[in-house]
Symmetry: none
Subunit: 248 residues, 2 copies
């Protein structure tokens, strides 16, 4: 059988099943695994498929979020790193939604072995790319604006959870008003996440410091750390530090 025939067969199988296994191919094509692997490599270099350990996936099968322009990308990457530094292997980590959280997930080191629970569809999708992360989606009805799960079912599920860390993609945080959000539906869920976690981290770019939204999530006393893109000793952070919150 000619090489091109084999490769055409592989592509056809991919079109039908969206995935192929090296072992299956080498038995149905009656060639060695090395040959199949070389074929897959060729096709992958040509962009015809997506090679993975053990086989290959159809290129059309990987849904990627359109890279919507992320504002303050650099700042958010800075914040993300500060959050990542808190994670340790074996932890159970709760993640809310938001672009800052998403940036953090994208920046996760591949060797980190953490179980994540999230309510955000985009965050969950991004976590699918991480090799070692275990991902649990706390599902129920979805809010279309935030693309997160909301409702009493989510709150109930969180009641049985004891997490090490909770990261909140904070909408607004203020010394007086505490953490506030603009989406009414998400309030109860965030409260439940906070209640289910040992330590709570608020990720916020400095623009959101000392701003207030319509709905209150919790007071500052519920927050353990604030991560911003500012240096540790920035002036604006002093008043937060005085309330006993850790500045990252």
């Amino acid at each position: 059988m000619l090489k091109q025939e084999r490769q055409a067969y592989i592509l056809k199988q991919l079109d039908v099943h969206n995935k192929v296994l090296t072992t299956d191919l080498c038995s149905s094509l009656a060639v060695s695994e090395d040959t199949v692997r070389r074929d897959l490599q060729d096709l992958a270099e040509a962009g015809k498929l997506h090679k993975v350990h053990g086989g290959a996936l159809s290129t059309s099968f990987q849904y990627s979020l359109q890279p919507a322009p992320v504002y303050h990308q650099l700042e958010k990457q800075n914040i993300a790193q500060k959050g990542i530094n808190l994670m340790r292997d074996g932890m159970l980590v709760l993640l809310s939604g938001g672009t800052t959280i998403l940036q953090m997930v994208k920046a996760l080191p591949p060797d980190l072995q953490v179980t994540f629970m999230t309510i955000s569809i985009p965050v969950a999708l991004e976590l699918m790319n991480h090799p070692r992360a275990e991902v649990i989606f706390i599902g129920n009805r979805l809010n279309k604006n935030t693309k997160t799960a909301v409702g009493s079912e989510v709150v109930a599920r969180l009641e049985g959870v004891r997490a090490d860390l909770c990261f909140l993609g904070t909408n607004s945080i203020d010394v007086e008003a505490g953490v506030t959000d603009s989406e009414w539906e998400i309030i109860d869920v965030k409260r439940a996440m906070i209640a289910a976690s040992d330590r709570v981290v608020s990720l916020a770019i400095s623009e959101k410091l000392n701003t207030v939204q319509k709905f209150k999530v919790c007071g500052l006393d519920e927050i353990d750390y604030i991560a911003t893109e500012l240096p540790y000793d920035a002036g604006i952070l002093e008043c937060f530090a005085q309330t006993g919150i850790g500045i990252l």
Copy 2:
């Protein structure tokens, strides 16, 4: 034998078999390999065939020219429309994962007012764009390959559900073996989805008909409709129709 005769013979063989081997030709034409090779080279330069190492392929044999990331796009849109036709305002509809389901979701008419329950992250994400759909994600641990929720928690949640319709993005469907899938983890979840629904629709491009995968989901008797891109009276569908399944 004249050169033109040989080349005509080669083209004829290509028409019949879509491929020729240099060694076969030089024995059946009783000429040296070099001669055959020169013939193939001439014909390739004239665009009459596609020369490859060891022989040649018919030009019509799309060996791998374009991966066409939307290879089955049209077919899947056809299938999607057939599925959409079953939906009515106010229904509760279960959706599994897969590209066919995703196509259907993308093609949903904006005025349809349906409550969807799904286990697939990409499907849920796509549904976020629909203006009137209510979306419920049945969450738990996520399978990284399929990007769907799996595990007993999902099954338990589905037990309390009574849906009008269930759409399965079928991996393989066979008259004898029924519906089969390649992912072990998804089996229980699909079974639970089937049990929770009044009517079950299997969406499958025709290439998946009469193919079998490793794990059995259910027999054909559990399936109410099959939607393919083929017309109602296609021959391959007859054997399915005889089992009492509705052909869409």
